[in-house]
Amino acid sequence: MRKLNYFFGTLMGLTLLLFGCKPGGDGSGNGALASSAAEKVYVAPGEQDEFYAFLSGGYSGNLTVYGLPSGRMFKEIPVFSQFPTSGYGYSEETKPMLNTSHGFIPWDDLHHPDISQTNGELDGRWIFVNGNNTPRIARISLSTFETEEIIEIPNSAGNHSSAFITENTEYVIAGTRFAVPVPQRDMPINEYKGNFKGALSFISVNPEDGRLDLKFQVMMPGFNYDLSHPGRGKSHGWHFFSTYNTEEANSLMEVNSSQNDKDFIAAINWKKIEEFVNNGGGTKMATNYAHNVYNEETHTGTSTMVKEVLTVDPTEVPGAVFFLPTPKSPHGCDVDPSGEYIIGAGKLSADLTVHSFTKMLEAIEAEKFDGEAYGIPILKFEDVMAGVVKSGGLGPLHTEFDSSGNAYTTFFISSEVVKWKLETWEVVDRKPTFYSVGHLMIPGGNSRKPFGKYVVAMNKITKDRYLPTGPEMEHSAQIYDISGEKMELIYDFPTHGEPHYAAGCPADLLRANSKKIYRLDENKHPYAVTSPDQARVERNGNEVHIYMSTIRSHFTPDNIEGVKVGDKVYFHITNHEQDFDVPHGFSMLGQNTSEILVMPGQTKTSVWEPKQVGVWPFYCTDFCSALHQEMQGYVRVSPANANIDLSWSLGE
């Protein structure tokens, strides 16, 4: 009996030991390895990271900026969501940025960042992102790290195969995930098949200032266009979209969209279509979408409604669009640095399908078609396939590349990153992720010139990786050193929102261009005051405009009288600091909006509609100096019928 107990005890102990080790058994099991991993990610106080990483925020609607390899978060850039931290979407200047054909929308689901390129290499001018829910594309300046432009995409729904840019930033490309009636109309849902359309939008980018223009939309059959990537090098001028639901099911998609053994990768020769529209091709269609532009000199966004879009029926442009059969509802659709290989990740499969661009051109040349779908030729799977990666994993999603001919694919179901070789298609390494990895990112991994030092895996499930914080955990990201033959997990950090894709680049590409202040003498805001003697208060009916300046540590003016209940008070605040990183904030008691944070040399406007008589304080929300607490002031609010003249002062 005692022996038996001893036996069970030992067994239990061993079992516990085994289970207990598991969470830590992720490749850094022994001390020597662990310490070298620490050295690889440690960025000492005062030192700076080697790479910038821009992680999408998913349902936060924003973009987050991190350093690699430290995993330190530097900034959250508001894009599609109101952001009280800076007042974005709350200030009068930035509200127009969130205007759409559906009115003001304070949120979206931000998915895929892509950095601008020149000759297929990252150039660090802008980063583009997509809003998935109410289809939009945004352009963010990588000098100010602010959202400069948002364009709504008409005829699109679930703007998911976006925002990917061509190798000279000619276009930012946005495809619809959900097929919808075009134009939108009242019709039975179950008449989807053959009637709904999938719009693929080509938005040109002005090479000088980055201004966006929705040049044309290709009206494809009503499949779901899931992800996409541009051709590069030899395949420059083409763009590739993965599709699912070629069944055109409209209900219980989980089952009904997975019936076909193969869906397609759609290959679009956009240069050919561009030529077609430049020669007057395409059909103008009435529509309504918002185009919002932020002006860096006036610090103000304006929203314009556009009423027309040019559409292209792909069957009218022979030789421009083809379907490449690809097994099992492909999700990721990635193109290697040479532009030769197009990788389709059949998400319900264990294998990856690699198509050859050269073989595709040969098959098109020989007109070896395997039928057609809605007039679009389908190429034969065997004719375009270059190879299959027998991964041994489950649920492949996305692939990125290093500069030595290796590809790295995430596997959602089997929670791992698999490294394999282009052309031999052999798997050379695999490492677990924690847990259920979605996208991954190698800086420049979606360009001709990847910087193959680290890969960042962005996971969907965190569970036991960090101290528990209730049912909701921030998603985990993991950094692997990929400089050697084998990948090494070196760091694990929490992200914000849900990072889908990310983009990264060497720090040196952006560091020198990062703006430090807005010059006061370049401030063209119509309500700016460029010297304190211009500070004043003006009444126009029940609108009161307060032209206010700030510097450490006072507002000019700081005592204001003559405001009445029922007035609409605009505080136009110009920050007169000209020193890096000295913003001032502003908030007013009882204001039905957020504070604003005004950068040096910038002007921002905050609205207050006082409802109660009294003397109400305002203050600076950003700890700006030793006398920050004293940075405050009062507005006297009198009854609506009071006879009190406007007056304002400072230090009198």
């Binding site: 460029t530 003697d533 510097i551 450490r552 000019t556 100096s625």
Partner: protein, 169 residues
């Protein structure tokens, strides 16, 4: 028990007294009979207790910073004065008034108290000056800890502002 009752009564009476006073009388504020002094602690003891830093004459002190030697032309350059005046208005008047002491000292007559080099260095890098220059440090204390802002002024611009100061007698 009785004692407790007595204490309770006492407390209630205190409460009544404090609440029942005539508070309606307009208050002129309160004053505390003490002289405001920030010169008590050792770390901030100025060079001399007699003359405040703003009135001290330190023409031999060139300050700390990139401007080491700056001889002035006897003739005042009016073009520079104009440019300097405009720069001063935009970048400085939030804290410095010509006619009075404000957040910081008035620049009027500053060339009688400070060397051209000191003035330039103070405009170009106030943080370095406050860290390393005694007079700048004492001024910060005298002016209530309101640190002078670095307005990202170029050397050329600072030189114009200095020229403008020469006209403020």
């Amino acid at each position: 028990m009785k004692i407790n009752f007595a204490i309770l009564c006492f407390l209630i009476s205190l409460f009544l007294v404090s609440c029942g006073g005539k508070q309606e009388k307009k208050s002129d504020g309160f004053s505390v009979d003490r002289t405001k002094s920030t010169e008590q602690t050792e770390a901030t003891t100025p060079e001399t207790n007699e003359v405040p830093a703003s009135e001290r004459i330190t023409l031999d002190n060139k300050g700390v910073g990139q401007i080491k030697n700056l001889p002035l032309d006897p003739e005042i350059n009016m073009e520079m004065v104009e440019a300097g005046g405009a720069l001063f208005k935009t970048n400085c008047t939030a804290c410095h008034k010509i006619d009075k002491r404000f957040i910081g000292p008035s620049p009027t007559g500053i060339l009688k108290r400070r060397s051209p080099e000191w003035i330039m260095n103070m405009i170009l890098d106030p943080q370095l000056m406050v860290e390393q220059d005694r007079c700048a440090k004492d001024l910060l204390v005298e002016f209530n800890g309101a640190a002078m802002a670095n307005q990202n002024i170029t050397v050329e611009e600072a030189r114009s502002i200095l020229e403008y100061f020469r006209t403020l007698e």
